[in-house]
Symmetry: C2
Subunit: 556 residues, 2 copies
Amino acid sequence: MTHAHASRMLCCVFSVSAAGAMVLHLVPRCSARLFWASAGWRRTHIQGASVGLKWLGCPRDSYNPLACRRYSSVSGSPEVMLTSERYPVQRLPFSTVSEEDLTAFERIIPGRVITDPEQLEACNVDWLRSVRGCSKVLLRPQTTEEVSQILRHCHKRNLAVNPQGGNTGMVGGSVPVFDEIILSTALMNQVISFHDVSGILVCQAGCVLEELSQYLQERDFIMPLDLGAKGSCHIGGNVATNAGGLRFLRYGSLRGTVLGLEVVLADGTILNCLTSLRKDNTGYDLKQLFIGSEGTLGIITAVSILCPPRPKAVNVAFLGCPGFAEVLQTFSTCKGMLGEILSAFEFMDAECMKLVGQHLHLTNPVQESPFYVLVETSGSSAGHDTEKLTSVLEQVLNSGLVSDGTIATDQRKVQMLWALRERITEALSRDGYVFKYDISLPVEQLYDLVIDLRTRVGPRAKHVVGYGHLGDGNLHLNVTAEAFSQELLGALEPYVYAWTAKQRGSVSAEHGLGFKKKNVLGYSKPPVAVKMMHQLKVLLDPKGILNPYKTLPAQA
Amino acid sequence: MTHAHASRMLCCVFSVSAAGAMVLHLVPRCSARLFWASAGWRRTHIQGASVGLKWLGCPRDSYNPLACRRYSSVSGSPEVMLTSERYPVQRLPFSTVSEEDLTAFERIIPGRVITDPEQLEACNVDWLRSVRGCSKVLLRPQTTEEVSQILRHCHKRNLAVNPQGGNTGMVGGSVPVFDEIILSTALMNQVISFHDVSGILVCQAGCVLEELSQYLQERDFIMPLDLGAKGSCHIGGNVATNAGGLRFLRYGSLRGTVLGLEVVLADGTILNCLTSLRKDNTGYDLKQLFIGSEGTLGIITAVSILCPPRPKAVNVAFLGCPGFAEVLQTFSTCKGMLGEILSAFEFMDAECMKLVGQHLHLTNPVQESPFYVLVETSGSSAGHDTEKLTSVLEQVLNSGLVSDGTIATDQRKVQMLWALRERITEALSRDGYVFKYDISLPVEQLYDLVIDLRTRVGPRAKHVVGYGHLGDGNLHLNVTAEAFSQELLGALEPYVYAWTAKQRGSVSAEHGLGFKKKNVLGYSKPPVAVKMMHQLKVLLDPKGILNPYKTLPAQA
């Protein structure tokens, strides 16, 4: 199967449900493809045979009625419980969609008002199949003006709206909680302009990240962000959720790389801040309000983003470290000696290595160690970069920071090394039920919680593992057990959140809050901040029609 | 004179006033020092003798009563006209400071309530000596709690407050317009923490940028921003004005590098978002509201900022280009071939070269060309970087993009090449009265306005020149004349602003709006955006006591 073919697929993975039964999940296109590197080569695919995935022929556009039908027809799994039944949430007094409303929408976007229940099913359920709304209508505008007219109508009629991009979110932010109208950006997928001197791309919000990446690669540029879900996720959704991803260490936050936004406000007003300027200090930077606000303050319709030139060389080193202190010192050494070419610094503990060996039969390329780090460089000269990386390796080996290490410069070995880190998630899911946490901590405390939890949960867990983007201070903390256990959950929560709060960490490093995590906001933000967030919401969306029940906890 | 000595000075420059008379200006400490490079070497000083500067012994802390007195006593120039007399601005109905208010302040910050008129003079006038307020009181808190108590009192009493950092702004944002209380951050100058693995610095708002740079250099890191005014400007002011500066091309915007802020709101509430996390997607990113809002929404009291490792090598190339199209293509080539080590890409036109030759006797190191570019690299390997830069030079020479070029690797020559670019301002001021514009444009239109203006103003101007940070799309457009001319001004404004607006550029790339440019906001932002800015101001500062008359135009 060619990549081009594979990337057009949805795939299903089987995992153990809360009750211990096998459950079918639909994952976003390409989330199963572990990494598509900046230099244009593929690191690795999870092959259907080797990791138990079944590829299903489903077109790219998940809002295509056909896509929705297939999505539905292949699921065949127990129906996802309605969010309103699983969670203690009350419907707010919004209007319900009437025949007159449908007629009005049909006038605005003829032929793009979807009400067929079968077609709506995929858009009502998140890809993790953990939350489900019961929206009766999906709108598919193509232009900003159409979005504006739709919102003007909804605002007037007090109809709630759920903006939806690629529906690849992790926290239930992209599907309705009740019967909110789903406003999809899928047909807003045009590149508006690209400037090959400045590297500034302007495009509609519904452009799929991978398609933008391909567009740019042909022009010797790359997107400043890359995600596992790139084959499905929309750039508008990436910006609305302030996505982090694989290039964060090198190219930084979207708050720096997004130069302009066009946004439709709750009442249909178009806010055009779609400038393509690197520097602009005229007044308050309004676009920042919409980056990371998960569609609760406005609907992003177009994005202007600064794209870096495509690196010419990518190298990877995989190292074993005798302790976490040495991992941190190795990071310092890499930052100092690799500086500008350091593009990833990932770590994993010995438990992770054990699991990828046990469940996936991957071979540890270095001698057994308590910790492992993966260092990636991306630069403009293969020779220079290899020389720098070799110097680093000599230095960390000679100083005892690293007990063993290997460097990959050819694509196959690079892929093999990345697989050790990237397939941890998969190995974990084969180990049993997984409790997952994605937190930011001051880098020096990054591993303490893992050690602490091992003692706390004792034999109730099979494994407590820590890995993640050390370079970004982002820990993936995972706890596996034979099956879901309320007792184990009680030992983990709110303990993990409280522990994180004590270290002034973030209880959601990059996934956002959406519906599922909105109530843990207070662990990372003080009451004064939460209050101001509510005030901003009221200012920009006084009727609360935009993506209700998301991001902010219900007010007392 | 040692650098350490020189940097402790204020300096005076003489320029031609609107009426053609010589006027004394006080410039911020170190603004006369052209560049202090990241690697720890000095590029060049403007020597007193060679450029007509007179150094005056004035201590660092410009709020030191002694400093204020000296400032006053040495000025000896015609008194700066009161802003309220020069501009059509009405005092808003704030209270005036009473004896009871002073007693209350004295209770909060004993011994740090300054009312001596002589001491107040320096703080009432901007360093350009273009605007002047008549504040009767200067408050010098040391802690956030003190700032909070002061604002709580002012809010209750409806007293207007002018936050002031290093008072190095370009647009009159840092001095009172009428009798606003001046709240200085000068004594809030403590480093709170620095983490040498993550490179995250947390400090109080009043830390002087240069002192932070020195603190970091000793630890092998650098600040992600550098400014001419670094010897005076405060990091809180840098953040409040979203300062750009010399490292912008490489390290990006403060919106990406500032990780957390502590802010005191108009009513004295402390908003603590001073986290030190690279990734945090919990709720709206409130700190962004305060970056670049010029103290009109809250007073920044502490900053958390991500600092890059110190580069080990810095190289400079100076190139002559046959046309502006070739300048753009050279930029593309440099981005492609230098990628991660490119740290500056500056351009200047032949008129600039003529002026630095004529007025400063600097020698053009390459053959005469219509345009010149300065390319700087900062990297972790001197050998690699030189090799890359040499390859670029070969490529651009062979392809005809560049007609002549030279590379400097030793410090002296690097300084000499930078002087050609950095001393343009000085050469211009020797050419006569200077009309200055600092605008952002799409990079391909960057020079069109210069050509356009030459035709438009004809012989009314001596020179119309263009230079600036091409890498950031930031044009410095300067027009010189024998003396100030209302007719010439009429030919330039609002034409320059309207032209910029037509290209969707920014009428203030990095200087902000402050008092002097607040009325041109509408050239770069649509009415919907301006309205929303006003709404945010009302939400966060309902009484409008924070830095009134600044940033936003008065509402109709």
